[in-house]
C-alpha cells in the first residue's frame, strides 16, 4: 500500500516537474510533507541538503531518499530499498515516456516548417533560462548565508579559473575534482 502511494506521488512529481531541479522542490515538499506527512519540514530540509552534496538531479535524489525512509519506517531495511526503487522508477517514468514521444516526433518532423519555427522561437529562450540558473546561483533570492555560493574572494578566483578551463575545453570532471580539492585546501 505504501509502495503504491509512493509510486503515485512520485509519478505526479515527475509528470508536473517542468523547469527541472529547484522548481520541483515545492512540488516534492507538497506531496511528501503536506499531503502524506511522510516527514516533517525539518527532515525535508535535511534531504535537500543531502541532495546538494550528492550528484544527480534533485528529483531523483529525493525520490530515492524519501522512498527509502518511508519504506523503512513501514517495514525495515528491505522494504526501504523497495520503497527507494519504487519512488525512483516512478519519478523517471514520465520523463522517459514523454521525452521518447517528443524525440520521435522531432526526429521525424524536424524539417517541417512549423516545427522548425517553434524551435527557432524557443532556442534563444532556452539560453536565457540557462543564464537565469547561473544568475540565481550567483545572486540567490534569500539572504541566508547557507544559500550563498560565493562566500569570499576565493570563490571568485575558483569561478574564474574554472571558467577559463571550461572555455578551453578542459575535462569538466577534472575541473570539478580540482575545485573540490581546492575547497578542502582553502576551507578545511
Amino acid at each position: 500500500m505504501i509502495l503504491l502511494q509512493l509510486f503515485i506521488s512520485y509519478l505526479k512529481i515527475g509528470f508536473f516537474g517542468f523547469g527541472g531541479g529547484y522548481a520541483m522542490l515545492s512540488l516534492i515538499q507538497n506531496e511528501v510533507v503536506m499531503q502524506h506527512a511522510w516527514m516533517t519540514n525539518a527532515e525535508f530540509a535535511d534531504i535537500v541538503a543531502v541532495s546538494q552534496i550528492t550528484p544527480g538531479p534533485i528529483a531523483i535524489n529525493s525520490a530515492t531518499y524519501v522512498g527509502y525512509t518511508v519504506g523503512m519506517q513501514a517495514g525495515g531495511t528491505g522494504m526501504g530499498i523497495l520503497g527507494a526503487l519504487t519512488a525512483t522508477f516512478a519519478v523517471c517514468l514520465p520523463a522517459l515516456t514523454l521525452m521518447l514521444l517528443i524525440t520521435r516526433f522531432f526526429l521525424k518532423l524536424r524539417n517541417n516548417p512549423i516545427v522548425e519555427g517553434a524551435m527557432q522561437g524557443m532556442r534563444p529562450v532556452v539560453i536565457g533560462m540557462i543564464a537565469a540558473a547561473a544568475l540565481l546561483l550567483i545572486f540567490p533570492h534569500g539572504s541566508d548565508p547557507g544559500e550563498q555560493n560565493f562566500i569570499d574572494a576565493w570563490s571568485w578566483l575558483l569561478f574564474g579559473g574554472v571558467f577559463v578551463g571550461a572555455w578551453r575545453k578542459v575535462n569538466p570532471i577534472a575541473l570539478i575534482v580540482l575545485s573540490a580539492a581546492a575547497g578542502i585546501a582553502i576551507y578545511y
Binding site: G21, I60, Y65, P113, V126, M129, F139
Partner: protein, 181 residues
C-alpha cells in the same frame, strides 16, 4: 550490446559528476556526446537542450533519453537513462543506510565550498558558447528571458510555450508570403 554499454557508461559518468542542478552538466554532456563520441552534431546541441526543456523532469534524464533513442532506439533510451539514475540512486541509498551524518562532515563541507563557484562557471560557459553567432536582436530575447526567470520568477513553461507560439506564427507568416508570390 557494446553500444548500449557505451551509452550507459557515458551517462553514468555524467550522472556521477553532475552537482548543483542539471545545467552544470551541459559541458559534460557536450564533451561526452559531441567531442568524444560524435553522437550528436554541434548544431544539434541547442535543439537537444531545447527539447529537454520542453518535457517535464530533470534535463539530464531528458537529454539521456534523446541521445539514447537517437543512437539505439528504445533500448538505447533505457540504457542511457539508467546510466544517469544509477549513480545517484546508489549514493543516496548508501547515505541513507550508512552515512546519515555526511552533511555535517567538515571535509565534505569544505569541498562543496570549492565546488559551488566552479559549478556556476560550468553553467556560464555554455551560455556564452551557445549565444555566440546568434543574431544581435536575439541577445535581447536571451537577456529578457534571463531576467524574467531569475528576477521576476516567471515559470519557464509559459515562456517556452510563448516563444514556440511566436516562432510558429513567424513561420506561418513567411510561408504565406512566399505562397502569395
Amino acid at each position: 550490446m557494446r553500444q548500449l554499454l557505451t551509452l550507459f557508461w557515458s551517462f553514468f559518468k555524467i550522472g556521477l559528476f553532475t552537482f548543483g542542478g542539471g545545467y552544470a552538466m551541459i559541458p559534460l554532456i557536450r564533451r561526452e556526446v559531441i567531442d568524444r563520441r560524435g553522437w550528436i552534431a554541434e548544431r544539434e546541441f541547442l535543439d537537444l537542450l531545447t527539447l529537454a526543456q520542453s518535457a517535464p523532469g530533470p534535463i539530464s534524464l531528458n537529454t539521456s533519453v534523446f541521445v539514447g533513442y537517437k543512437m539505439r532506439g528504445y533500448s538505447g533510451a533505457v540504457a542511457s537513462i539508467l546510466g544517469v539514475v544509477v549513480p545517484s540512486f546508489v549514493i543516496i541509498l548508501l547515505i541513507a543506510l550508512l552515512f546519515a551524518d555526511i552533511r555535517y562532515n567538515p571535509v565534505v563541507d569544505a569541498a562543496f565550498k570549492g565546488m559551488r563557484p566552479a559549478v556556476v562557471a560550468l553553467i556560464v560557459v555554455p551560455v556564452i558558447a551557445l549565444a555566440r553567432g546568434m543574431h544581435p536582436l536575439l541577445y535581447i530575447v536571451i537577456g529578457l528571458t534571463a531576467v524574467a526567470v531569475w528576477y521576476l520568477g516567471w515559470s519557464p513553461v509559459w515562456i517556452l510555450a510563448g516563444a514556440a507560439a511566436a516562432g510558429i506564427l513567424r513561420a506561418l507568416y513567411r510561408t504565406r508570403k512566399e505562397g502569395g508570390r
